[in-house]
C-alpha cells in the first residue's frame, strides 16, 4: 500500500483545539511538513504563544516551551543562546506579537537572533473572544471596537513585516497568505525556506501568515476567505521583503 497523505511526524496525534474554518491548523501543518522534509524535528525547539495557539506545545512533536503572553521571542533567545546547536522557532498571534510583545519581537529581530518567527495575522484577538488587535483593519468591528476601528482615536493597523524590514540584521522576511490552496502552496515554500535558513543558522527569519477568524469575525469560513482577500490583502500585501540568501546567490 502506498501512503499518499499522512500526518507529518512533526505533529503529535493530539487533536487540535481550533474552531471550524480556522487556519491555525493549516499553518501548523505546513510548518510541521517543512520540519519533516528538512529532517529538523530531532534538534528543533519551538515556543508557543498565548492566544488560540496556546496549546501548540502539545501539537508540535519536538521539544516545546510555553511562553508568557508576547514573550516568545525573548524565551526563544534564551533557548537559542543556551543551545546554539539546536534550531528555534516561535509561533505567535497578532495580539501576542504586535501588541503586548512588541518590544520582544523588535529587539529579537534587531539582534538578528538565529530563529524563525511564524506570525499568524487574523486581525483580531481570537482566544479572548474577538477584541480589537493591533492589526484590526480601519472601520472593522470587534467587541472592543463595536463602532468600527476609529483610526482618529486608536491609530492604524501595524504592518509588522514593513516595520522589521527597517532593521539591518534580519535575514529573511516574507508575508504570505493562507487564503487559497495556491496561496498555501506558496506559503509552504516560504515557510520551508525560512526553516532551511534556520537549519543553516543564517539569521533571523520571519514569516507573516495572513489568516482568518470566522468565529470572531462572525462570518462563515468560506466567506471569511473572500472577506480577507478583499479587506486584508490590500493593506497587508503578500510579498517578500527581504531574502539575504537570494541576494547572496546573485
Amino acid at each position: 500500500m502506498k501512503v499518499i497523505a499522512k500526518r507529518p511526524d512533526s505533529l503529535t496525534d493530539v487533536q487540535f483545539t481550533y474552531c471550524p474554518g480556522c487556519l491555525h491548523g493549516v499553518a501548523h501543518r505546513i510548518i510541521a511538513e517543512a520540519m519533516d522534509e528538512l529532517d529538523m524535528r530531532n534538534n528543533t525547539m519551538g515556543v508557543a504563544p498565548v492566544g488560540c495557539s496556546v496549546f501548540a506545545y502539545k501539537f508540535f512533536d519536538c521539544d516545546m516551551a510555553e511562553a508568557a503572553h508576547g514573550r516568545a521571542p525573548a524565551v526563544a533567545t534564551g533557548m537559542k543562546r543556551a543551545r546554539p546547536d539546536m534550531h528555534v522557532f516561535t509561533y505567535q498571534g497578532d495580539g501576542d506579537l504586535a501588541a503586548i510583545g512588541t518590544a520582544e519581537i523588535v529587539h529579537a529581530a534587531n539582534r538578528g537572533e538565529k530563529m524563525t518567527v511564524f506570525f499568524v495575522n487574523n486581525a483580531i484577538y481570537g482566544m479572548t473572544g474577538g477584541q480589537m488587535a493591533p492589526t484590526t483593519l480601519p472601520g472593522m468591528k470587534t467587541t472592543t471596537s463595536p463602532y468600527g476601528r476609529n483610526t482618529d482615536d486608536i491609530g492604524f493597523p501595524i504592518r509588522v513585516c514593513e516595520m522589521l524590514n527597517t532593521f539591518v540584521a534580519p535575514y529573511y522576511i516574507e508575508r504570505v497568505s493562507l487564503l487559497t490552496p495556491q496561496d498555501i502552496l506558496k506559503a509552504k515554500k516560504a515557510v520551508k525556506k525560512a526553516m532551511q535558513y534556520n537549519k543553516e543558522n543564517r539569521g533571523f527569519t520571519f514569516i507573516e501568515l495572513i489568516s482568518t477568524c470566522p468565529t470572531n469575525w462572525g462570518i462563515d469560513p468560506i466567506e471569511s476567505l473572500t472577506w480577507a482577500k478583499e479587506n486584508m490583502l490590500p493593506f497587508f500585501k503578500v510579498q517578500n521583503f527581504r531574502d539575504k540568501g537570494a541576494e547572496a546567490g546573485k
Binding site: 503529535t12 530531532n42 516545546m64 533557548m79 543551545r83
Partner: protein
C-alpha cells in the same frame, strides 16, 4: 578557596557565579547593580559564556526562562524597579519548575525611589510578588564574602529543587568593597555533570531515537483538577525546602539575654556592632540573623524566648515587613518592637542602641 582580594559585592557575586558554572546571563542596566552586569559583560566571553543585554527586565527574565528550560545554569540580576518587571517571569519560572538564579540589589522605593540601600522588597521576595501560589528560596547575605558564597549555593539549591532562587541583597552590599576569597572554578566537565540531573525533562536534542522524547516547559494546566495536582506538588516541594533549608546565625545568644534582636542583611551588621557596644556596658542582647529569609527561621526565634528575654526587637531598612514573620514566630508570647529606616538611609549603631535601651 582563593587568596583574598578586595572587591565590590556586585563584582564578587558575578565572579562567584561564573566560577559556579553560570555561562548564561541576561540583564538590563540599573543602579546600584550595574557593576554586576558590566562584570558579566566583560568576563563571560572569556569563558565562552553568553551575555545578552536585554531590551528590558521583562525580556531578560524570559530569556532566563528559555535558557533554564534547556537545563543550563542561568542568572539575571537587577535592582528593585527592575525586579518588579521580572515578577511576571518569576511566576512563570516557579510554575514551570525552572531552576534559575535572580539577584536583587535592593534600592529605596516605592516607584523610582532612590539608588541607596534599602530592604523594601522583603514582602515581594518572600510572599510572592508575582501572581499565584508560589515561593522562591530567598538568600539574604550580610557581607561581600557571603554574597559571593551564595552564588554557588543558589545554583545548587535551584538545581536540587528545580526552583528559582533569589539572592536578596542591597545597594550597600553591592557597592561596598570587602576582602573576599573564591571557591575553585568548576570545569566544563563539572558543569556538565551538574546539569545532567535535568536531562530527563529539559529541552535538548533527540539523540536517543527511537525513544523520541517530547519535553514541554510549561505552567499552563487548563483542567482545574490537573492544575490542583500541580500546585499541590509545588506545595510538597515547598514543605521539603522548609524542612531542609532554614539557615540563620545566632550572635551573642545566651541564657542571660535581656532582649533578642532580629535583623538580616545590611541591617544585621549595624545591630551586631550595637550589641558589642551594649555588652561593654553590661547589657546582654542577642541577635537572630536569618540568612535564608525564605524558608524563614521561625523556630530559631521561638527557641530563644525564655524567661529573661523581655522583648524581641526587629530592625529593618523599611517600614516593617519581616517584623510580621517575627510576630508570627513569637505568637504573642512577649512584645515585639520594631525600628525601621527608610528612604535609602541606614540607621547608625547609636540609633539601634537607643531603641534597645528604651525597651529595657
Amino acid at each position: 578557596m582563593s587568596e583574598k582580594v578586595l572587591m565590590k559585592g556586585n563584582e564578587a557575586v558575578a565572579e562567584a557565579a561564573i566560577r559556579a558554572g553560570c555561562r548564561l546571563y541576561f540583564a538590563y542596566p540599573i543602579t546600584p547593580q550595574s557593576e554586576l552586569i558590566e562584570y558579566m559583560a566583560k568576563m563571560l566571553p572569556k569563558v565562552k559564556g553568553t551575555f545578552v543585554q536585554a531590551e528590558s527586565e521583562v525580556a531578560a527574565i524570559n530569556m532566563v526562562y528559555g535558557a533554564a528550560g534547556c537545563g543550563k545554569r542561568v542568572m539575571t540580576s537587577s535592582s528593585s524597579p527592575g525586579i518588579s518587571l521580572k515578577m511576571e517571569g518569576i511566576s512563570y519560572l516557579a510554575g514551570a519548575n525552572l531552576p534559575s538564579v535572580i539577584i536583587n540589589v535592593q534600592r529605596g522605593g516605592p516607584g523610582l525611589g532612590d539608588i541607596q540601600p534599602a530592604q523594601g522588597d522583603y514582602f515581594q521576595a518572600t510572599k510572592g510578588g508575582g501572581h499565584g501560589d508560589y515561593r522562591l528560596i530567598v538568600l539574604a547575605p550580610n557581607s561581600v564574602q557571603e554574597f559571593a558564597d551564595m552564588a554557588s549555593e543558589a545554583f545548587d539549591l535551584a538545581d536540587k529543587y528545580r526552583i528559582p532562587v533569589m539572592i536578596l541583597s542591597d545597594g550597600l552590599l553591592g557597592q561596598m568593597m570587602e576582602p573576599v576569597s573564591f571557591k575553585p572554578t568548576l570545569t566544563a566537565e563539572e558543569i556538565a555533570e551538574k546539569e545532567k540531573i535535568h536531562l530527563d525533562w529539559c529541552m535538548r536534542p533527540n539523540e536517543d531515537e527511537p525513544n523520541h522524547h517530547h519535553h514541554e516547559i510549561n505552567s499552563l494546566e487548563i483542567d482545574p483538577n490537573v492544575l490542583e495536582t500541580h500546585v499541590l506538588d509545588l506545595e510538597k516541594k515547598y514543605k521539603l525546602i522548609t524542612e531542609n533549608e532554614i539557615k540563620f546565625e545566632e550572635y551573642n545568644i545566651n541564657d542571660d539575654n535581656q532582649i533578642v534582636c532580629v535583623a538580616y542583611g545590611t541591617a544585621s551588621r549595624i545591630v551586631k556592632s550595637a550589641i558589642d557596644q551594649l555588652s561593654e556596658k553590661g547589657i546582654n542582647v542577642g541577635l537572630i540573623r536569618p540568612i535564608n529569609v525564605w524558608p524563614y527561621p521561625s523556630n530559631a526565634i521561638k527557641n530563644v524566648l525564655h524567661k529573661k528575654v523581655k522583648k524581641v526587637i526587629t530592625f529593618e531598612l523599611n517600614l516593617g515587613q519581616m517584623v510580621e514573620d517575627v510576630r508570627l514566630a513569637v505568637n504573642g508570647q512577649i512584645p515585639v518592637e520594631f525600628l525601621g529606616k527608610v528612604g535609602g538611609l541606614v540607621f547608625s549603631p547609636d540609633e539601634v542602641i537607643k531603641k534597645i535601651e528604651d525597651n529595657l
